[in-house]
């Protein structure tokens, strides 16, 4: 079974066109086919499908999708095989430059030139971008040697270049933690990870396996306040921060290094969403969507990191299953779900996706908390559902499945999603009882 297959012939009309062949695009293509769409086009600007998984060589993928722990490339391989078995047109090395509001997808590639296809449904699965230095406003000079952790990951894992010899990592996102270990294994010195917040923003297992195992220090409530060097980074100044996250400059110290990796988070790649004037959610940076992940423009769907930043490729695949199937439904003229319940973030919840739910569907509500709660926690979706969990942390997305039975009596209402300590929830319930 080949892992790359390029389309030799491009039709001018497809039922479903999918932009981006990462885990979201691959799963959407499979689901669209299973739902009955016959002409499906999957486009990616890279030379091969797989998206970011091609450079995520570590394990930790597939526990939900395959009940097996596999690496990123293996996870991608399995989905690429599924796509190729289903006779989907896969066009690689092709950049989608524009999607028009009447669903014409314009693309550009060495093999097709500039061309456009008409489509019945579009899935935007273009992934995310990394936050850069400008977005987090570090002062200082602009020497070489400052780059995002994901770019360093691509250099090391796909092309075999090392970013430097003495590295400081700013931000404790998963990519930064994974790269700390990766660089140590390649013989590079990793001098420390500096996190502005009082807790790591990456997963606990990555703190243990990528930092603790190799004795790499994690400095919490500490940040890089200055980067020095003319042509190349020579040293950074770091300082602890107070409760309001203001650097305590009198306690600052310098670290000689030649490279600074930024691991300060991802944001959905919103280029096509903006072109299409889709309604965007300021909290996620992605489009506002229904429970089948349809955006404010009928026929346009969003899934994966293009919709909101996911920590697990498995969740991405599940989301894209729904989006791909729904795109096929729309293309085939089937009736849409009701979307008659609204959901909105409440106490200690940063964002909720999707933005509406249907009383006639079983759907998944995904959200992230603002502050970690270690200990019994109540997750509440309005009056419709509550679940008790052991802990919640911002690094781990929470998902709750809600079906017609649970939602039935809430048509027309807005459900607030809360994540609160169990003790506080009991107090609230007691207070509520008193009022009655």
């Amino acid at each position: 079974m080949p892992v790359t297959a390029a389309t030799r012939h491009l039709d001018d009309r497809y039922q479903v066109t999918i932009v981006g062949a990462g885990p979201a695009g691959l799963a959407a293509a499979v689901a669209a086919r299973e739902q009955g769409a016959e002409r499906i086009l999957l486009v990616d600007r890279d030379a091969e499908p797989g998206g970011i998984l091609r450079q995520c060589i570590h394990s930790g993928f597939g526990l939900q999708a395959f009940s097996e722990d596999v690496t990123g490339p293996e996870y991608a391989h399995r989905f690429v095989e599924r796509v190729l078995e289903r006779d989907v047109d896969v066009l690689t090395d092709a950049y989608v430059t524009d999607v028009s509001r009447d669903l014409r997808v314009k693309l550009m590639s060495p093999s097709t030139g500039v061309t456009s296809v008409e489509t019945g449904g579009v899935v935007l699965s273009t992934g995310a971008r990394e936050r850069t230095r400008a977005q987090i406003r570090i002062p200082g000079e602009r020497p070489a040697g400052v780059m995002t952790a994901g770019l360093a990951q691509k250099m090391v894992n796909l092309h075999g270049y090392l970013p430097g010899q003495r590295v400081v990592i700013l931000g404790s996102g998963d990519i930064g933690l994974i790269m700390a270990r990766r660089l140590i294994l390649e013989g590079v010195e990793v001098l420390g990870v500096f996190e502005l917040l009082p807790h790591p923003s990456g997963l606990g297992r990555n703190v243990v396996q990528c930092l603790d195992d190799f004795g790499i220090p994690l400095h919490l409530s500490t940040t890089v306040i200055d980067i020095h060097g003319h042509d190349r980074v020579e040293r950074v100044t770091v300082a602890p921060v107070d409760e309001e996250r203001r650097p305590l400059t009198d306690q600052a110290w310098d670290i000689p290094c030649d490279t600074v990796l930024l691991s300060v988070g991802l944001i959905p790649d919103g280029e096509l969403a903006r072109q299409l004037h889709l309604s965007l959610d300021q909290r996620t940076g992605g489009p506002v969507v229904t429970s089948t992940y349809e955006t404010s423009l009928p026929g346009v769907f969003s899934a994966g990191n293009n919709l909101h930043i996911n920590d697990l490729a498995d969740w991405v695949s599940q989301e894209a299953n729904v989006a791909g199937a729904a795109a096929a439904d729309v293309a085939l003229g089937r009736v849409r779900a009701r979307q008659d319940v609204a959901v909105t973030p409440g106490t200690n919840v940063r964002y909720v996706v999707p933005h509406t739910l249907s009383t006639d569907l079983t759907q998944t509500v995904s959200f992230r908390v603002k502050e970690p709660i270690y200990g019994d926690t109540i997750l509440r979706v309005g009056e419709a559902h509550r679940r008790k969990v052991r802990a919640v942390v911002p690094a781990e997305m929470v998902t709750i499945k809600l079906g017609p039975k649970v939602l039935e009596s809430f048509a027309g209402e807005t459900l607030r999603v809360d994540a609160i300590p169990a003790a506080a929830a009991d107090d609230l319930a007691a207070a509520g009882d008193d009022e009655q």
């Binding site: 080949p2 892992v3 790359t4 297959a5 390029a6 389309t7 030799r8 030379a47 091969e48 091609r54 060589i57 570590h58 394990s59 930790g60 526990l63 722990d69 596999v70 690496t71 990123g72 490339p73 293996e74 991608a76 391989h77 066009l91 690689t92 090395d93 092709a94 590639s109 060495p110 093999s111 097709t112 090391v156 894992n157 796909l158 092309h159 075999g160 140590i184 294994l185 013989g187 790591p200 997963l203 606990g204 297992r205 703190v207 243990v208 396996q209 603790d212 195992d213 994690l218 919490l220 920590d311 697990l312 052991r390 802990a391 942390v393 690094a395 781990e396």
Partner: protein
């Protein structure tokens, strides 16, 4: 990061308790492992059986999933992702990866193909995690 460190607290009686963070899944349960005379007698704090096994294993014989890359000749990119076919003793991780440093693999490659055997005396093989077509067979777009 005190809560993630492996801390030992000596009990007034005769058992020691060690704290570990279960890495079996992203939930990250906080485990406590009770040890008497070097034997694990109880693991607490897990949410599933995997965590109970992990706690005992992490105390007696810690192992890690290991991934790295080697040079790839005749492929679409310069590096081939590989992994240890089974979990590697924690102390052997660095030597296993370093032994692979100069290795070159020629396309074509299959997923799961053995790239090196008994690496760094661990008895563990290293396998490819992606497939690579021979160059002349790469499909041509257009």
């Amino acid at each position: 990061m005190g809560e993630h460190r492996h801390t030992a607290t000596i009990d007034a009686g005769e058992s020691d308790t060690f704290a570990y963070l279960c890495t079996g899944c992203p939930l990250g349960c906080r485990l406590e492992v009770d040890v008497v005379d070097g034997d694990v007698i109880e693991v607490r704090g897990f949410s599933c059986k995997k965590g109970e096994r992990y706690g005992a294993q992490e105390h007696t014989d810690p192992r890690r999933a290991v991934s790295t890359t080697v040079w790839l000749v005749g492929g679409p990119v310069e590096r081939l992702p590989v992994r240890a076919a089974e979990p590697v003793p924690k102390d052997a991780v660095l030597s296993l990866v370093r032994e692979l440093h100069g290795l070159e693999v020629h396309a074509p490659v299959e997923v799961g193909q053995t790239i090196a055997t008994d690496v760094a005396g661990t008895g563990i093989d290293v396998i490819a995690t992606r497939a690579v077509q021979p160059k002349e067979q790469l499909p041509v777009a257009g």
